[in-house]
């Protein structure tokens, strides 16, 4: 069950470079660690993160076991039009979580 804190400026000027910050709640369990019972703790990581802006991919990333729990990603894009940013992250079991944010471009 992932949750995320997403920061997108509510308003921007057309052509402006905007910074987007995302903090995902996720254990990013590597699959290499053993638990108290000596058994391997199953891998549970986010494998892919994608951000689309009005349907177009503006940023995507592959994540690997060496990445910290609760990954923080920050990236920039150009404010083109008012609309919606869709953030989705997919874990190694193939489950996808989606969150959206809207932006107003003047």
């Amino acid at each position: 069950m992932a949750r995320a804190l997403i920061n997108v400026p509510q308003k921007a000027k057309r052509g402006e470079i905007i910074e987007i910050k995302t903090l995902m709640s996720h254990p990013m369990e590597t699959g290499f660690r053993t638990g108290l019972d000596g058994q391997l703790v199953p891998r549970d990581i986010i494998e892919q993160f994608v951000c689309t802006y009005n349907g177009e991919v503006v940023f995507s990333a592959h994540l690997y076991p060496a990445i910290t729990a609760n990954p923080f990603l920050s990236f920039t894009t150009i404010a083109a039009d008012s609309g919606t940013l869709v953030f989705s992250w997919t874990d190694n079991k193939g489950e996808t979580q989606v969150q959206t944010a809207s932006i107003q471009v003047e």
């Binding site: 804190l5 903090l23 709640s25 729990a69 609760n70 923080f72």
Partner: protein
């Protein structure tokens, strides 16, 4: 005249700031880690606060009541509560920490299954309640029935234990500001708990921090929620009286 005023002001201002040599662990961190704590959108502890908020509003147990059903809005009802814990509990006639108080409400008032002491849910609720006192000053309970536990905590803090024969005070009073390996030794103020520790990759309680230091000292860890752990917490909160709470802090 002006110069005199300046000199006077300096004389007045200096003792006030020089008087309090206490510093939160925040002051010992690098600028990147500090920035992570102060930006609510980069502070991973805020994810737990959010989870705590959801738990606060969720019905649970045989009462089918949420915390909010009895306490209303946490930003009002829980404001300042964390500044005066551990407190003396009348029902058990013993000191109780904030997590213990929440557990008590959970089991006895909500009629729900107990949360695990250092489990994710209890940490989330404790950080949510603690967060309502962020930037407020620590104001320990003045209940005289806490005196014995306070003394017990002071003794635990200054007694040498473990295979390395260290006391907490040797590091956190005598060598604070120095280094242990690469890590700066802070003054052990409990201002940020529960907090997100980068090394843990998760939120953790003050009592987990005790176990962390104790295992470094090759001493027997103090179990979470035990009388010893609460006594030590009580002593440290007293020692930090007047300092500001930062919950949820970030530490390396």
């Amino acid at each position: 005249m002006n110069r005199l005023l300046v000199i006077l002001l300096v004389c007045v201002a200096l003792p006030a700031s020089a008087q309090d040599a206490r510093k939160s662990g925040f002051a010992f961190m690098g600028p990147d880690t500090q920035a992570m704590q102060t930006d609510d959108l980069a502070n991973p502890g805020m994810l737990s606060v959010l989870e705590g908020e959801a738990l606060w509003n969720a019905k649970a147990g045989t009462s089918q009541k949420s915390c909010a059903a009895c306490h209303g809005d946490a930003p009002q009802s829980m404001k300042g509560v964390a500044t005066r814990y551990p407190a003396f509990d009348d029902t058990t006639q013993a000191p109780l920490d904030l997590a213990g108080r929440i557990l008590q409400c959970r089991t006895e008032r909500q009629g729900a299954l107990a949360f695990q002491r250092e489990g994710r849910e209890l940490l989330a609720l404790t950080s949510y309640v603690g967060h309502q006192s962020r930037n407020m000053t620590i104001a320990p309970s003045q209940d005289t029935r806490l005196a014995a536990a306070r003394a017990q905590g002071a003794a635990l803090y200054s007694t040498r234990v473990g295979q390395l024969n260290f006391s907490c005070a040797q590091c956190h009073d005598d060598n604070a500001g120095g280094h242990l390996g690469a890590a700066p030794i802070p003054q052990a103020h409990p201002t940020g708990y529960p907090l997100y520790r980068l090394e843990w990759q998760s939120l953790g309680s003050l009592q987990r921090r005790f176990r962390n230091c104790l295992s470094g000292m090759r001493a027997e860890p103090i179990p979470a929620g035990s009388a010893d752990a609460i006594a030590l917490e009580l002593f440290l909160m007293d020692r930090a009286a007047g300092m500001k709470l930062e919950t949820p802090a970030v530490r390396p």
